[in-house]
């Protein structure tokens, strides 16, 4: 036993003086810690529900599970976006079973209570059997304690006393703005087609994996080969400490939010051509870029079009703005299993050709059939397998880049430590 380790182990050992950061592996395997996370993390943080563009018309709805809760996200008949906890106020059944659709009412199949799409209780069969004191207005569908949006990204919070979403997002809003600036009208939309897959690993491993550029050359060498075979220069930069062709930074955005901020080398639908897009795409990419420059000025246009950013909104929303734009969320369903949902996001007005190119670019890397994500899934599941040794091998080493006096690189573990410090703070009740 290392005598410098604490007698009663905490979740992390954060020791800047000795440039040492250790993670107690128990936090990735313990059911008790997961129970505590449900209360200390998921019941107190802003949790992504969905995007306004998924609800184009009044009456449109989608159903999903958010932090373990079945919810309905809908646009009511007056056009307001609402979230209802999907449970009948009478005896509890979910009142909407379809994945998505359009309706004026949600009807419970059990005893027939029905609700307007704004949540008000509309009708109760046999209403005359209730006492006069029964007030229908008190028995509408229940919204989550808090439900707020930033630029059409809608979040819920189970803690009524939570700080406003926009304060929680803090400087992360700058990075969301960079995503939205790709659209001439400022309207980005979720594209049809959902990727939903499980990983036999702890959910926090996905947070790390989403921003960890240290693993890219080893885990994704076959993707780098594919890029190279397709004419993209993937040779690592000669600069010290760098594993990839271009420089990337890891940036703390406060409140447990953080991002990578990388000079693009792998192409962007908006707007950096690579050979995979094909020669005939060049002129349209040029036009997209010219529109950006005209609208935003050359500096901001370059910021939008020449950097890739993997943004984490604590605890479980990832927006990857790179080869394509992905919106990804994931929830634990046990200490060693998570359910992942991923969507593609694109400018609402982009041409059919640009949309097809964006979706194609997405699949070059991302998703359960992509050229990279399956190897991430494998890596995370191998971690989880290895963690069965946690009692004998209790600590993970996460000090990479610690204590340096220059910028933190995307391949350092600075941003991973930001996550773990914030997670630790909430778990310790600070």
């Amino acid at each position: 036993m290392d005598s410098r380790l604490p007698r009663k182990p905490g979740y992390i050992v954060d020791d800047p003086a000795n440039k040492r950061f250790l993670l107690n592996r128990e936090v990735l395997v313990s059911p008790e810690i997961l129970d505590h996370e449900q209360r200390a993390i998921f019941a107190r943080s802003w949790i992504y529900v969905g995007h306004g563009s998924e609800l184009k018309q009044p009456g449109d709805f989608v159903t999903r599970r958010v932090a373990g809760r079945p919810v309905i996200l809908c646009r009511d008949s007056d056009g307001n976006i609402r979230c209802h906890l999907n449970t009948c106020r009478h005896r509890g059944a979910v009142v909407c079973r379809e994945r998505s659709g359009n309706t004026r009412r949600f009807n419970c199949i059990y005893h027939g209570w029905s609700y307007h799409n704004d949540g008000r209780l509309a009708a109760v069969p046999g209403a005359d059997a209730y006492a006069p004191s029964f007030d229908k207005n008190q028995w509408g569908l229940t919204p989550p304690p808090r439900f707020e949006a930033y630029r059409d990204f809608w979040f819920l919070n189970l803690d009524r006393a939570a700080q406003p979403l926009v304060d929680y997002l803090g400087r992360a809003t700058d990075y969301i703005d960079l995503v939205i600036d790709q659209s001439p009208s400022g309207r980005m939309e979720i594209i049809a087609g959902t990727q939903e897959y499980d990983i036999a690993a702890n959910w926090k491993l996905m947070v790390e994996n989403s921003v960890d550029d240290y693993h890219l050359p080893t885990t994704h060498s076959t993707w780098l080969n594919y890029m190279k075979n397709s004419g993209v220069d993937v040779r690592p930069s000669k600069e010290a400490g760098m594993l990839l062709p271009t420089k990337g930074l890891a940036i703390d955005l406060g409140s447990g939010n953080f991002t990578t901020d990388n000079v693009n080398f792998r192409g962007r639908p908006v707007a950096k051509w690579i050979p995979i897009y094909g020669e005939d795409a060049k002129s349209e990419i040029d036009a997209i870029r010219a529109e950006l420059v005209a609208r935003l000025g050359p500096e901001r246009a370059a910021r939008v079009a020449d950097t890739n950013r993997n943004l984490v909104i604590f605890p479980n929303l990832v927006i990857n703005d790179g080869s394509s734009v992905t919106v990804r969320t994931f929830f634990p369903v046990g200490p060693a299993k998570m359910q992942v949902t991923a969507w593609a996001l694109g400018p609402a007005e982009e041409s059919a050709g640009a949309r097809a190119r964006r979706l194609d670019a997405f699949l070059t890397f991302y998703g359960p059939g992509g050229f990279a994500t399956p190897d991430d899934i494998e890596a995370l599941e191998l971690v989880q397998q290895g963690l069965a040794n946690w009692q004998e091998v209790p600590w993970s080493e996460m000090s990479r880049g610690m204590g340096k006096d220059s910028d933190f690189l995307n391949s350092d573990e600075h941003h991973l430590r930001i996550f773990w410090r914030h997670w630790n703070k909430l778990m310790e009740g600070a």
């Binding site: 990727q195 036999a200 076959t222 993707w223 075979n229 059919a352 070059t364 050229f371 494998e378 890596a379």
Partner: protein
């Protein structure tokens, strides 16, 4: 009877079944270079998302949408020992049934079949992929070749099936 149905008669279900069974064997035995040989020069491989099984990959996010170029790259990738999701390679076994010829036009024949594909990896859960193959075959002098390979899963979401890192 429509002309297309008449022309379809020039390919029998037995011939289509022979082709499908042979293709399944090439995939289950990881003879992927040979498998590329039964594709046309403009072949596509499509796995629609579970929530939009009838969609078009140009306006909908698919799980897989490869043209022939990326299919060849996919074979390079998944036979590389550094493709961690498939090293060691998954053991798969597929059963194919309910083969039907849906129609034919010129040299193309559209066929459909039900399939079940089991996938095994050491220390991992068994995975059972069930759905329909919807293939467009081209008649050539060398026999049938695969032009469009669409794999439609019945599962409501990929869920416990995880990734599709092999050729499904």
């Amino acid at each position: 009877m429509a002309d297309s149905a008449l022309r379809a008669r020039t390919v029998t279900r037995a011939e289509v079944e022979d082709f499908l069974f042979h293709e399944a064997a090439l995939l289950d035995e990881w003879r992927l270079e040979e498998w590329l040989g039964v594709l046309t020069e403009d072949a596509t491989y499509l796995v629609p998302p579970n929530d939009k099984p009838d969609a078009d990959h140009r306006d909908t996010l698919f799980t897989i949408a490869d043209d022939i170029k990326r299919l060849r790259e996919r074979v390079i990738r998944i036979t590389d020992p550094n493709c961690h999701a498939e090293h060691p390679p998954s053991r798969t076994r597929r059963l194919i049934g309910n083969v039907r010829i849906l129609g034919a036009e010129d040299d193309l024949v559209t066929v459909t079949a039900n399939f079940a594909c089991w996938r095994y990896r050491r220390f991992e859960r068994m995975r059972e992929y069930v759905g329909t193959y919807r293939f467009v075959l081209r008649r050539t002098a060398e026999g049938l070749r695969l032009k469009e390979r669409r794999v439609i899963l019945d599962a409501q979401e990929l869920g416990a099936l995880g990734s599709i890192s092999f050729i499904l």
